[in-house]
Symmetry: C2
Subunit: 243 residues, 2 copies
Amino acid sequence: MSGKPSPLMRKLAVYVTLGDMELGVLERFQRNVRSFPPRHELTHEGQIKPAAFILLKGWALSYKLQPSGDRQIIDFQIPGDFLGMRSVLFRRSDHSIEALTRIDVSEVLGEDLLQGFSEAPRLATAVLWAASRDEAMLVEHLVNLGRRTAEQRVVHFLLELGARLKLVGMADATGFSCPLTQFHLADALGLSPVHVNRVLRQLREAKLVTFRHGRVTFGCDERLRGLAGFDIGYLDQEGPKLA
Amino acid sequence: MSGKPSPLMRKLAVYVTLGDMELGVLERFQRNVRSFPPRHELTHEGQIKPAAFILLKGWALSYKLQPSGDRQIIDFQIPGDFLGMRSVLFRRSDHSIEALTRIDVSEVLGEDLLQGFSEAPRLATAVLWAASRDEAMLVEHLVNLGRRTAEQRVVHFLLELGARLKLVGMADATGFSCPLTQFHLADALGLSPVHVNRVLRQLREAKLVTFRHGRVTFGCDERLRGLAGFDIGYLDQEGPKLA
DNA sequence: CGATCAGTTGAGAATGGTCAAATTCGGTGG
DNA sequence: CCACCGAATTTGACCATTCTCAACTGATCG
């Protein structure tokens, strides 16, 4: 098709080889582009008929609020990710989604999705693979909160984010640019902002990672992976493609 | 069809009305029964071509091990639950699954599943609904670990388990019988076994819940829900059925 | 040039962890 | 029925990771 591949295309291409037909359907999904400012709410927890989107540009985040006012961030979404896929099947959304930066999204209707899948079954496989990968990340986040120290959580989080961004061409070996605040990290990792700050300082002083001025810079990958117990396996980015 | 409904039928019937045809397909899925003893490993993390099962009887658990030897339990499975559904789409399993008690399972092959779905599309919807519900539980567990105190985690966990068991007829308003040890709770809730014990004692002394001798007994549901911030919404068991 | 928001740092408190030693419970064999 | 074994549970004393509160810095913006 035209021009350079979209992030979603890049991501799915890791898993299956996409032909012109699949690319055509995929492009159709990404045609109806809308733009939203930071903090715009795409889906609200409990919302009855939620929509699904493909994130084309910018960052988003999904979260749940507690009665106490605490926020748990479920995950951040980057270009190429689906937003609210699960809610296409569910009766109501079980969490909220909002824009973190200015974003470009394309709304995907349930019917169009199914129609496209019947035209391009290999695309369906690839999209379901992506959904499974998201769920595997969720599981890994659970391990992160349940069984790792603050330092390990932060490092694991940054390594995972780096791997995801690299897949869509938004990171290189040295690091990536990152719009998150330390408050975001705190709410995603189940820590207080103050403690996140302290951990980041330690990591910086140990020359392991730097999180500053909107940029994450990795020091020694080797040591970082060991420290956090980061095993990229769950992202399933390594295997051979599906023919 | 024959006899009393299986747990899976009961569960899916909450979401859609199943006709004889759907029930027939569903019964076919649950025909090839095998039995395994406690601690039998059904799927190993990293396993290449994992299988999917329907749990007919007994309890199972899914978990990930850390390099340090720590274990994070992802979830417990009860009759009517699918085991390893996600891995049908994934190249390798991202976690291990093992029997907690003696269990009866029925293996489900990817092809049979797809075949059955094409015969009974409403069944497909129902099964995908169940999968979405499992993911919503995963999200709620994330909130549990990230943003709740030890006491809240324990209470939330027991309330959720009670709601799930009630759905398949294995619990009533007073409580349920439960094969879990305090070590299981600890590994599921990201706590130490010692602290789980202390929390359980407090809850018992406050006449809120009792976890003892293989049985969970609820005191004041009202207060428990308030304490844990338990909102059953994410289980999506309340809405009207799909016609 | 205040206002605001992200980031820093320190001091003290607390939730939950670790270690170690009972004690109880559910079998099992005599 | 009783003695005994291993696993699960219980309790105490002490420790540490992380939190809370509070103050202060620095950048950005109308």
